[in-house]
């Protein structure tokens, strides 16, 4: 698993639950004292051990923990901005969400996100299938899609459907005002 993904997991656990708990999880999982390095690649096993140790320590189901990771990712401003490049509104975003792995590869060629297939049987129904890859991606994406609905000010039900499927039911596209997004980078403004 790419270091960026492992480091996201580490950042999520440390920022949300404190450095002491992260240290305990890292030790239990066999992660070195320095933690993960963003630009290195690690064995999938190690990532799984971190997830398992964290779920254990927090007495939380694995899926719920990974959904929270997805929500945490959207709370990081640079990442939220990159996601907002996906569309002008939530529907636009959903319609191009299957381009996300490709966008990620554009940024970091060996990031290793699994391919997504988007299925939209009804205008307000979206299903995201994860063709292959680690089963942890579907719950993380569920968290991301839920947080992005909030970010766009849309009202949607996002649910995990089995190991490799996320369902989105759009109830209202303009439910709240959503958060601002400017194409120009804020520090340049």
């Amino acid at each position: 698993m790419h270091g960026l993904i492992n480091r996201s997991l580490q950042g999520f656990l440390r920022d949300t639950y404190g450095p002491a708990l992260w240290s305990r999880i890292a030790e239990a999982a066999g992660v070195g004292a320095e933690g993960f390095e963003a630009m290195l690649t690690y064995e999938d096993d190690l990532t799984d051990r971190v997830i398992e140790a964290a779920a254990d320590a927090l007495a939380k189901p694995r899926e719920a923990l990974l959904e929270d990771l997805g929500i945490y990712l959207v709370s990081l401003e640079p990442l939220r901005r990159l996601l907002r490049f996906g569309g002008v509104d939530y529907v636009d975003f959903l319609q191009t969400v299957d381009e996300l792995p490709e966008r990620a590869r554009l940024a970091v060629a060996d990031i290793g996100l699994p391919d997504l297939i988007l299925d939209a049987p009804e205008p307000d129904q979206f299903t995201l299938h994860f063709a292959a890859g680690h089963p942890g991606f579907a719950p993380v994406f569920a968290g991301i899609l839920r947080a992005m609905a909030d970010d766009y000010g849309a009202f949607a039900l996002v649910d995990l459907d089995g190991e490799r499927k996320v369902k989105v039911e759009l109830l209202q596209t303009a439910y709240a005002s959503g958060r601002a997004f400017d194409l120009a980078r804020p520090e340049d403004a």
């Binding site: 963003a38 901005r81 002008v88 966008r103 554009l106």
Partner: protein, 345 residues
């Protein structure tokens, strides 16, 4: 021709044209603006546009030869560079195509590499770009690149800090594999403490290489490095495992001989080291000739041996060796310092 090419003119309304090319400009044969795409209109700001002279609106940067609208036809299809005379004075690139039926020209413009500034200056959104335009992807990539570079820079900072920390903790001289000054300082403090408690005396030797600079200057640093490595070999050869050898400067070495109390014996060891150093070392067939000046002091000269004082006395003896013609070993005269120096305060 593939037989499918249609030669008919396509009739397109200005609104549709604006959606296809949000930064187009329709210029009449006499050089007046006839219609403007929505994004380009945003760039032009307030003030009348339709009916304005094209050359009053834009400065043509390239091709320089394009001075009047009469020249436009000659440049159709080529890349042209224009600067907007209004608003932020943005430079745009584009191409001109003549229209059928004497309707003038279409100029389609786009942002060049300065797109990020333009997006900021004019507060452009996704809707200002045609869906076929990759500008938004370019902006995305710019941000992604900044984020990835940030991670790399952070990684470099962490690696640099780790490198500095490990260097600071290192006890070995990288070239010779001998101890460095840090290693020596630690050993000498320990040895002084033991000696003060009467648990073991020692001799401290300072060795300054003679003529080393000449080797470096005439044969180069590689020769110098070889000599230093050979010197380290000699010192290892002439001492015991329990002794400490350190390289403390470019051509300065310090040896701590444990258990030595006899000045004559230490002087003989020093003389043996010097005679070994004086064997020419071959570097690419060239003999490198050096020697060494040694100064010695013994822990038993002091009631309470102090590293700093011992270094200073060994130095004094080394200078005596140099003064007396180099290539010799001098033992510091223990009687020149009061036998039982008063400890300060």
């Amino acid at each position: 021709m593939d037989g499918l090419t249609v030669q008919d003119a396509a009739l397109v309304g200005t609104d549709a044209l604006g959606r296809l090319m949000p930064m187009y400009l329709w210029v009449t044969p006499n050089g007046l603006v006839r219609a403007v795409g929505p994004t380009l209109k945003k760039l032009c700001g307030a003030g009348p546009l339709i009916g304005t002279r094209f050359l009053d609106l834009f400065e043509v940067e390239k091709p320089r030869a394009l001075l009047s609208m009469a020249d436009v036809e000659a440049f159709s299809g080529q890349r042209i560079l224009v600067t907007l005379k209004r608003g932020q004075g943005t430079t745009l690139r584009g191409q001109v195509q003549p229209l059928d039926g004497g309707q003038g020209w279409i100029l389609n413009l786009s942002f060049g590499i300065s797109v990020a500034e333009a997006v900021r200056d004019y507060r452009l959104t996704n809707a200002d770009f045609a869906p076929t335009d990759l500008t938004v992807e370019l902006l995305y990539l710019t941000e992604v690149k900044a984020a990835v570079m940030g991670e790399l820079a952070a990684l470099n900072r962490r690696l640099e800090a780790a490198r500095a920390a490990s260097e600071a903790q290192a006890l070995t001289d990288a070239l010779t594999g001998l101890g460095n000054r840090r290693a020596l300082d630690a050993e000498l403090i320990r040895a002084c403490t033991l000696a003060a408690r009467g648990e073991g005396q020692f001799a401290l030797l300072h060795l300054d290489l003679d003529f080393f600079k000449a080797v470096n200057d005439t044969l180069g640093h590689a020769a110098g490095d070889l000599v230093l490595t050979e010197v380290a070999g000699v010192l290892r050869e002439e001492t015991r495992k329990s002794d400490t050898i350190a390289r403390v400067g470019g051509d300065e070495f310090v040896i701590l001989l444990r258990g030595e109390t006899d000045p004559d014996r230490v002087e003989r060891i020093g003389a043996r080291i010097i005679s070994e150093l004086e064997r020419p070392i071959l570097y690419e067939g060239q003999p490198c000739r050096i020697s060494g000046s040694i100064g010695v002091t013994l822990s038993r000269f002091y009631a309470s041996p102090d590293p700093e004082m011992m270094h200073s006395d060994a130095d004094e003896a080394t200078y005596a060796s140099k003064r007396n013609g180099r290539g010799r070993c001098t033992v510091w005269d223990g009687s020149s310092r009061p036998a039982e120096p008063e400890p300060g305060a």
